[in-house]
Symmetry: C2
Subunit: 116 residues, 2 copies
DNA sequence: GCAATAGTTAGGTACGTGGTTAACCAAGGG
DNA sequence: CCCTTGGTTAACCACGTACCTAACTATTGC
């Protein structure tokens, strides 16, 4: 429960970059070739390619080359993995708040770390 | 709509590290002093402090020092910000899938990028 | 086949990140 | 008052990341 580390590492790392997030935002509205993906960013093609590789390596994006054009699709499973982790933390937190409320109404116990 | 960059950058960056994610996972179950937070990780106190600072800088964690003890609480708003972004992308994607389905049943249009 | 287009590879640089050790300061406790 | 505990600061190092330019390959269109 404490260690499913690596894939999540890569996904969050990928999402930590504004360029890559923008790419994801764009790809969510439909697939696009590398060139179109690169257009809004004031940076060289190789730089864009690198970002793309990061996104692909962590499973957020899938690409396939048809003629000389590589088309990029988003892979929603990757996003969901991250969203799930976040959701788990939030629900864990909320559950804790509930339990804390119970204890307070029961014994007026002061707030502290793990009860065990 | 394409650039609310910086805070999200920092949050995802913070979550990209397994140590920091573990810390969040622990803090979700209740506040803890630095020492206890550091205990499960085979690394020096300063390293832990650094991670803590990252978490604090991006608003995921709030800390306060009482005697000589600094207690760390989680700050759920930070998690929610990230979760929201992820959710936006997912819904954007799902909406697109719906629209695509409509078009297909209507005009048998081939799938492509932005319709504008 | 020649030129333009789309992408790729190679190599290099500047900066950021994650860790270390050592020395230090500030409570508490005997 | 002295020692221990808890945290902090400083200085440093190894490695990774995010770009760049230049050169190259592979299609497509004329």
């Amino acid at each position: 429960m404490v260690n499913q580390g690596q894939p999540l590492d890569r996904v969050f790392q990928a999402l930590a970059d504004p360029t890559r997030r923008s790419m994801v935002e764009r790809l969510v509205r439909g697939p696009a070739p590398v060139r179109e993906l690169a257009q809004p960013f004031a940076m060289s093609l190789p730089a864009v390619m690198q970002h793309l590789q990061v996104l692909e390596a962590c499973g957020l994006v899938r690409t396939e080359k048809v003629g000389r054009v590589r088309t990029c699709h988003i892979e929603p499973a990757g996003l969901r993995m991250a969203e799930d982790w976040l959701g788990d933390q939030r629900t864990g937190w909320e559950r804790r708040l509930d339990r804390l409320g119970d204890h307070l109404t029961d014994h007026s116990e002061p707030e502290e770390g793990r009860p065990a």
